[in-house]
Each structure stands twice: as C-alpha cells, then as structure tokens.
Amino acid sequence: MSEKGERFRTILHRVDKGILGQLARSVLAAVPEIRVIKPPQVGLVMIRARETVENQPFNLGEVLVTECTVALGEATGWGCCLGDDPDRAYHLAVLDLVLHLGVGPVERIEAALLAEEERILQEDVSEFASIARSQVQFDVLG
C-alpha cells in the first residue's frame, strides 16, 4: 500500500469535506473500536523553504493547522489539516489509520479517493487554463 499510500497522503488534503466526512463515518460504523487518543487541537507548523542564492533553508513563518490522533489497538492514525477544522482533522486521522492497516471498507475508500484525485486534477487543469490565458505572446516589431 506504500506507493498508493503516498499518493493518497498527497491528495487527502484536497478531498471534498463532505466526501471525507462520509468516508470517515462509514469507517467508524464498520470499525467502532477506533478511539480518539488526542482530540483535534489547533497548533502551528513552521514552514521551511530553501532560498536560491546560497541554497540555504530558512523558516518562512508558521501555518495554523489542526491535528488529531486516533488508535485501533496499538496502531495509530494521524490527521492534520490547514486552519481550525476539527472535523476534518478527525476524519483524516480515521482514514489515515484504516488505509495504513487495510481494515474497514478500504476498497470503497480507495475508489472514492481515486475519483477525488481525478476531480482535483480537472480542477487544476481548469484553473491553469484560465491562468494561461494571461500568458504573453510577444510580437517583435520591425
């Protein structure tokens, strides 16, 4: 699941909130033993960037995030999202856990995430198409 897992960890942050909620609720219905070990809490992540003059990393500034940890037996799932959004952090933690363990309605979740991946791609393509309209076409005079 590692390659697919990485793919999901890259797109989960943009999965529609409603769909994420549905998926998490279906997991919790199927695996009610999942428990919250650290409830959603807002916190800060310092974002680091690499500058291009001397190739040095530096601290650009902090980003407000919400994180949550859930567990099933010894295994844990962690969710972290932008802003103050406890529901999303909790749902992400639940999905992280079941995708890692491969329990619950994993096939359904994976299918839904792949559909979301496609939707996100189309959204990006469409957004870039509107941005690309402002690309300059130079006419050389003379």
């Binding site: 800060l44 310092m46 974002i47 530096f58 995030v65 940890t69 990006d124 941005i131 402002s134």
Partner: protein
C-alpha cells in the same frame, strides 16, 4: 516634586472600548462577513498573514474586521493569537520549483521557458476609480463568473487542456550558463535558526535575516529598499523572476516518521533580483543575487526583501540598507508600531523629571546672565 502613584481611568477605558465598537457600527450597514473579507480583501488578508507571521486566512480576515482595516493592528492581533498556540513541528523544506504558479514574470528576459504569465495583476491597468464597483451586485458577479470560468463553475470536464506544469527557474538557467555566483555547495547550517525561539545576534545567519524579512512590515521593507534603489547603496536590481503561487505544506507523519503527509497548500510570492557583477576567487565576474519570499500575494514585499537581501550581502555598512543590524531591527511592524504607540502611555513621572531639570537649568542660566551684566 515627589513620585505620586496614581490609578484610575478604568471607567474611561471601558467606555472607550465601547466607543470603538460604536464607531465601527454606527453607520448601520450590514455586518461584514469574514468570508467576504477573505475573498474580496485578499491582498489585505495576505499582508496581515505575512506581517503577523501566521498563515491563517480566516483568522487574518477576522483580525482585519476587528482592527477596522488597520493592517498593522490586525497583524498584531494575529501574532498575539499565535503566541497562545503549541508548535507541532517544522515542515519538510519547500522547494519553490514545485510551486503551482498563478503568476510568473521576468524583467530580465522576454523569452523564458514556460513563458511570461501575468496572472491576476493590475500592473498594466490605468489607476482610474471604477465607479461601477459601487453598484456591483450578486447578479453581476454570477454573470461574470459564468462567462469567465464556465467549466470551473459547473465542474465540467475539460479534458484536453494542459496539466499545470512546474516552471523552470530563470536563475537556474543563468546559473547553468555560469553567469551567476556559484552556490555554496550544499553547506547547510545544521540547525536552522528560528528567530521566534532565539534572539538575533549579529552578524546574523542568513536564515535569520530571511526569516526576519519574511515577517517584516511591507511599508518598512519598501522604504528601506527604496533608499537603496535610489542610490543609498549600490544595488541596481533587475527582476530575474517574480512568481506567485501555491507551495505544498508537507510534514513528517507524527507516528510513522518515514512517511510524508501533505497538509495543504500555502500561497507565497517569490522574487529573485539580479544585481551587480562581482568577481569571485577565480577573478571571473558574475552576477549576484538577492532573494525574497513571503506569505500570500505581496509583490512589493518580496521585491523589497530581495533588494535588501542583496544590499546586506555587500558586507559594507556605507548605506543604511547595507547595514543588517539597522535593517533587521527596524522592519518588524509589530515591534515598531508598539514602540511608537507606547508614547501615548502616561510618561508623567519621566516628563516631570525633565521639567524639573529644565527649570533648574533656566534658573542657572538667568542667574549667570544677571551676574555678567
């Protein structure tokens, strides 16, 4: 006159706080929604996030509402809120080559790989007041959106268009041609200084300088950079590349530390200025660079930061912009506004002491004056 402790003013302060609310609301207009500020005052929101050093669009918009549009006050509110929150950790280092670009221009070359993409800019618009905006309605907005981005609005599949590319950097091209100063071969400060945890000492590590400027006040950075551009110092910048776009915020998984999780996307502005030629140890002259990066869409700030970065790298302190201690101590909006505002607080005792000395000095001067006559 002796020291006289005083207290009081509590009732007046409470009444003043109510007056703040009253003056914001007495016009009787509909309450501003936070989402409206986030969407339609996006550059103010970006500025507050940058100067408050906290990427939190909702909270920045709320702060702007509370501060009645005063960006410095709003960034103060945001930074104060930040100080109440726990630090979860540091992100994976962002490479801005991975940016999803919404704007990208170069003033150095006409033809750059990927092209010049203007994106949302007013650079080529006349500065005429648009009175039509005074009558803008939801109908106008919907009509515009349905024409401008029909696919996006209806969630249609478009199919044939391009997947957003990542753009090669102009400085990478120049570097490949040997026209730029060489990179310090991957030498990294083992511990990246974090000025929210450690005070700046001078000479400041490069990471501290960049962090301080990234959270600097736009106007302060601009004024100091402008002094350099006008000739106090010797930086004549050419904008190698300016880009605005989203970079991924990626962190290591909390419990499985070999996994990287993308938490979201953060809008940033990046500027790279090419400045004067310098010869390195091999005596071959090359261009030198200055670097700017800040939260949100804030081009003046990123360019000013890049110009000051280059000015401070000269190593001389002949002009104010070249003196890192001078620059880094004066660009923080919250520190500067706090110190400026503190003069409003009672200084009754200190002023009384100055007054006593003045009276004594006047007496002495008069007595000496009488003596010489």
């Amino acid at each position: 006159m002796g020291y006289v402790p005083i207290k009081g003013g509590q009732a007046a302060i409470e009444a003043a706080e109510k007056l703040v609310r009253y003056f914001r609301l007495r016009g009787g207009s509909a309450p501003l929604e936070i989402k409206q500020i986030q969407d339609q005052m996006r550059l103010a929101v970006d500025r507050v996030m940058g100067e408050g050093s906290l990427y939190a669009p909702f909270h920045a918009a709320l702060a702007l509402k509370q501060a009645e549009g005063d960006t410095i006050e709003a960034s103060f509110l945001l930074r104060a809120y930040r100080s109440t929150l726990p630090r979860i950790g540091y992100s994976v280092v962002v490479d801005t080559r991975d940016m999803t670009v919404i704007r990208r221009i170069s003033a150095a070359f006409k033809d750059i790989p990927g092209g010049q993409i203007l994106g949302p800019t007013r650079d080529y618009s006349l500065r005429l007041l648009d009175f039509q905006l005074a009558d803008e309605s939801l109908t106008h907005i919907r009509e515009f959106l349905s024409k401008f981005a029909p696919g996006m609005m209806r969630g249609e599949k478009i199919g044939t268009e391009e997947v957003p590319p990542s753009f090669p950097k102009v400085v990478d091209m120049l570097r490949a041609e040997g026209l730029l100063e060489t990179l310090t071969a991957g030498e990294e400060a083992e511990e990246i200084i974090d000025i929210t945890r450690q005070p700046i000492t001078f000479p400041a590590p490069r990471a501290a300088r960049l962090q301080a400027m990234a959270r600097g006040e736009t106007g302060g950075l601009m004024a100091l950079a402008y002094s350099s551009m006008r000739g106090y110092g010797n930086v004549h910048p050419t904008l190698g590349e300016l880009r605005v776009g989203y970079v991924p915020l990626r962190v290591y998984h909390k419990t499985r530390s070999d996994e990287v999780v993308t938490v979201g996307r953060v809008l940033v502005t990046e500027a790279e200025v090419i400045a004067r030629m310098d010869a390195e140890e091999d005596n071959i002259p090359r261009f030198t660079l200055g670097y700017g990066l800040c939260f949100g869409h804030n081009e003046i700030k990123a360019i000013s930061m890049a110009v000051l970065d280059r000015a401070m790298r000269t190593g001389s302190k002949e002009a104010p912009a070249e003196d890192e201690e001078f620059i880094l101590y004066h660009i923080d909006g919250i520190e500067a506004s706090g110190f400026t505002a503190h003069w409003k607080l009672p200084h009754y005792v200190t002023f009384q002491s100055v007054l006593d000395r003045l009276r004594r000095a006047q007496q002495v001067a008069r007595r000496e004056g009488e003596g010489t006559q």
